[in-house]
């Protein structure tokens, strides 16, 4: 840490300017969050009848105003080839039959678990960095990890808020069939670029999962929440690519081939 502090002091003026920019951006973030919170509140209101087994006149995006939406299409959509099959699902798609999370709420639980995995991955990286596993850690890398981790915590909290309001337990662990494989990759990482590649894979998987979710979640609040998080994961991925030395915007369209399937949820 002392080395990091030293480096920061060497570029005090630039740092001050950048800190100022960061503060302004933090204010923007708070303003932005109010809009997302409304989406989440709408989503929660629409989903809260599920746990109680009540029917609800939800505001259905697909059926039009006043239509009665049937939550439950997401799992069916995913099994019909909506996306994921490649890298991020390499751990296989163990079934979570008997899971309390169904339909849109299964995607919400999946999203929470994915965010938890990202938080855990960055946390593992910080711990390993503290032990000197990767050698000296540049201050910018440390800032990236802590900031990205914080945003993933925000995402997880948002999704878990929906589950809680629906009367379900929040997903507080990376309850995914891919988790062990990702942890193994992190444990094998010995350099900053190694870790960054694992993180890049997770960020890309998250971005593609949310892209998939925008097409397969039925509730407008859930759709918009996924839509608002997807670009952020994509931005994380771009910066990681930049740091690794890969072209940061490699494709014209975010795909869904690396999306994590709802069947990967083990909660």
């Amino acid at each position: 840490m002392s080395r990091m502090k030293k480096n920061q002091n060497e570029i005090a003026i630039s740092e001050a300017e950048l800190s100022s920019m960061t503060h302004e951006l933090d204010v923007m973030h708070k303003e932005t969050f109010s809009g997302v919170k409304k989406s989440l509140d709408d989503f929660s209101a629409n989903l809260s009848h599920l746990a109680a087994g009540r029917p609800a006149a939800r505001r259905s995006f697909l059926l039009g105003a006043g239509g009665l939406a049937v939550i439950g299409g997401v799992a069916a959509c995913s099994s019909s080839g909506g996306g994921a099959s490649k890298s991020s699902t390499s751990g296989g798609g163990s079934s979570s039959s008997g899971s309390p999370y169904t339909g849109d709420l299964k995607v919400v639980a999946l999203a929470a678990a994915l965010e938890n995995l990202a938080v855990a991955a960055y946390g593992m990286a910080l711990t390993a960095a503290g032990k000197g596993t990767y050698g000296a850690v540049p201050p910018a890398v440390a800032t990236f990890v802590t900031t990205a981790m914080g945003q993933h915590k925000d995402h997880a909290a948002a999704w878990n808020g929906v589950l809680t309001k629906a009367g379900l337990k929040p997903v507080t662990t990376p309850a995914l069939s891919i988790t062990n494989a990702e942890v193994a990759k992190l444990q094998a990482a010995k350099t900053i670029p190694d870790v960054a590649r694992v993180a890049l894979s997770l960020e890309n998987a998250a971005a593609e999962t949310y892209t998939f979710a925008t097409a397969n979640v039925t509730d407008i609040g859930g759709i918009m929440t996924a839509a608002a998080i997807q670009p952020v994961e994509a931005m994380h991925a771009a910066i990681l690519s930049f740091v690794i030395g890969e072209y940061p915007v490699p494709a014209s369209f975010i795909g869904v081939d690396m999306a994590v399937q709802p069947s990967a949820l083990t909660a």
Partner: protein
């Protein structure tokens, strides 16, 4: 860059498949809405005409809204292409004094925005609308006004950040405004890419501002970057839509 081109080619193939899917889905939605009206009218009788008309008005107006959203998006893409191409005529972006990595980024970004515009306009045409070949009416005067004042990389980067952010916010909002799942996925898939452009531009802006132009390379020397540079590329945990263009902003008929 070769690998990047391969990746892009794969993505384009996927995007074309998606494009066909969502155009088919949107057409189907329009057909279904008309059939529903007919069946609804026959089954429900005259007393229910109001309700049936509502059922028609929903999906049908949503479809025309789809076309407007796609046209507006195409106009934004056309403006982005125009802006970056203008930037490439400047010596410090596309000329002899330009950083090679910056020039390459701008060229690739032009290509990507061109493909976005083509995708949006192809969808417009297949849905029976008129292609938007012009540029976004709100931001075009802003770019035109800014163009003479582009005296250095920071000026261009600032303008590009604005356009990329408007694009990303617009498409994020569009996800909740269009009528089919395929359209939602298309807008989302492009929103993420515009956000990535913005992330890199924000990082480059920070490096230029910090006098670290030498670190605008792949990869940078991470040890020489200021700590704040690690987070400046993704300022928000949730992407805003407050600057999203209205659906009809770039619509043409």
């Amino acid at each position: 860059m070769v690998e990047s081109s391969d990746l892009q080619s794969d993505a384009m193939h996927s995007a074309r498949t998606d494009l066909n899917n969502y155009v088919d889905a949107a057409k189907e939605a329009r057909f279904e809405s008309r059939r529903d009206l007919k069946i609804g009218g026959a089954l429900l009788g005259a007393g229910a005409i109001g309700a049936a008309a509502l059922a028609f008005a929903g999906p049908a107006s949503a479809s025309s809204k789809d076309i407007m959203a796609l046209q507006t998006a195409a106009g934004i893409e056309n403006l982005a292409v125009f802006t970056y191409n203008t930037a490439l005529t400047l010596p410090f972006i596309g000329g002899s004094s330009a950083l090679p990595v910056v020039k390459a980024f701008v060229q690739m970004t032009v290509k990507q925005h061109t493909e976005h515009g083509q995708a949006f306009n192809a969808a417009v045409a297949k849905l029976g609308g008129k292609k938007q070949t012009g540029t976004d009416p709100k931001y075009t005067p802003i770019v035109q006004k800014a163009a003479p004042g582009l005296k250095g990389p920071a000026d261009v980067i600032g303008l590009a950040i604005t356009l990329e952010d408007v694009a990303a916010q617009t498409y994020t909002a569009n996800v909740g405004q269009v009528s089919t799942s395929d359209l939602r996925q298309l807008f989302s898939s492009v929103a993420g890419v515009e956000a990535q452009h913005r992330a890199i531009l924000l990082a480059v802006q920070a490096l230029v501002g910090a006098g670290l132009v030498s670190q605008i390379k792949l990869p940078p020397d991470a040890a020489k970057l200021p700590a704040a540079a690690g987070s400046v590329g993704f300022p928000d945990a949730f992407y805003s839509t407050t600057k999203a263009a209205p659906v009809a902003e770039g619509a043409v008929s």
